[in-house]
Amino acid sequence: MDAVPAIRVVDLRKSFGALEVLRGVSFDVPRGSVVSMIGASGSGKSTLLRCINRLETPSAGEVYIDGEPMGGRLSDISRMRRDLGMVFQQFNLWPHMTVIGNVIEAPIRVRGMRRKEALALAEECLARVHLSEKGKEYPARLSGGQMQRVAIARALAMQPKAMLFDEPTSSLDPELTDEVLTVMRELASDGTTMIVVTHEMAFAREASDRVLFLHNGQIEEEGLPDQVFGAPRSERCRQFLSKKLQ
């Protein structure tokens, strides 16, 4: 067994003013595993992901990436963010760059890769999201599903130790979610370490190694997918799931 998890979260707390959004969250994400996070709107899922890569500063608690504590000076935070690929609900592609431009930007500017190498890498990453032919397009010309897959490729191009997905399919039309979920399933079976915040219960059940149910800023239920979905111990989790699954 691998002793050092890719991500370890210890007693993480976050308040916005008087509003306590995370109230002591702890969990591990072992290397190569997929953790799905479910929970009602406002339960703190996005805030948790954003605290992990320090887009938000936690009020208390620790996050360890590969054993190293996240935090410190801005330059340390930037360095550690390279190892965490983030995929947003709103895609957040850079509209003034082509698809290729979006993907090679960070390898070149942040990793200091040569352009030629970066282009080869980008080709590889775009192939993984099945968008090899769209490299020269601008994001505005793509469908939502394609944009999200480019965003995944952009994150993969940094060859991160783990990927963080924040509701990657929630702003997509239903007929476009599958192409994104397919890519994510492939990443999962390739052994990519992932935390996935999602409302796609089928995906969470089939593709993840563990499922966390967040309620009011705390982990209310946690376990293997079949256990959380099949026989939830918490009443709240049961209610949440019965609403989602009906």
Partner: protein, 223 residues
């Protein structure tokens, strides 16, 4: 021989000379306005100690009538700074300063319109704040504000007629000279108006085309 031929066509050399001066002045003023506007905006947003100075300048440039500003640069600056030393320079500097005040606000609106997520996407791949600014915020801002910047050029063209007051030989001044020689204002001034309309129309069409292009290609609405 018609008045049009005698007063306008036969004087086309003079009018053309005036037009080139007008265009030169406007281009110089435009360049100053863009650079000045960007600097004022960046100082306002990011250089805390100088912020009040930038705000004061922006407000001053925007609130002063262009005529007052022209007189101010032309008569006060040489006393204070020993510069500008020509009417021509005073002319484009005053025009440029006024527009820099407006463009500073345009740039600010553009920067604030860049979605937070675009910046966060940069941070989350490990870019520094400076890289995020230089590679994401500024280029995206320039694209969204480009059409408004072009439209500011039309304001400069229209205001530029006032430099004739300090005897800069622009199109307006040449036209007035012709009027004062022949005392036949109708054709000359009508022709002059048409030239200005054409110029403004040309520039604002370019602005519209640019806005359409940016919307189609980048999905960016102009700020």
């Amino acid at each position: 021989m018609s008045n049009w031929e005698r007063l306008v066509w036969n004087q086309r050399g003079l009018l053309w000379q005036g037009l080139t001066v007008t265009v030169e002045i406007c281009l110089l003023a435009f360049a100053l306005a863009i650079v000045g506007g960007l600097v004022l905006c960046l100082v306002r947003l990011h250089v805390r100690p100088l912020r009040p100075v930038a705000v004061a300048l922006i407000e001053f440039f925007r609130a002063t009538p262009i005529f007052v500003q022209l007189m101010w640069v032309n008569y006060v600056w040489p006393e204070l700074f020993g510069w500008p030393n020509s009417f021509f320079t005073s002319g484009w500097v005053a025009l440029g300063l006024q527009s820099s005040g407006y463009l500073a606000e345009t740039f600010r609106a553009g920067i604030e319109a860049v979605p937070r997520g675009h910046r966060e996407a940069g941070y989350s791949v490990g870019m520094s704040s400076f890289q995020v600014y230089r590679r994401i915020v500024l280029p995206e801002t320039l694209l969204t504000v480009a059409p408004s910047i072009v439209n500011q050029f039309t304001v400069i063209v229209k205001s530029s007629t006032l430099v004739s007051v300090i005897t800069v030989p622009d199109l307006m001044l040449q036209a007035m000279k012709l009027v004062n020689v022949w005392y036949e204002p109708i054709e000359v001034l009508t022709a002059t108006a048409i030239i200005y309309i054409a110029l403004v129309f040309l520039v604002s069409s370019a602005g519209k085309a640019l806005a359409d292009f940016h919307r189609r290609r980048f999905g960016l609405d102009s700020a």
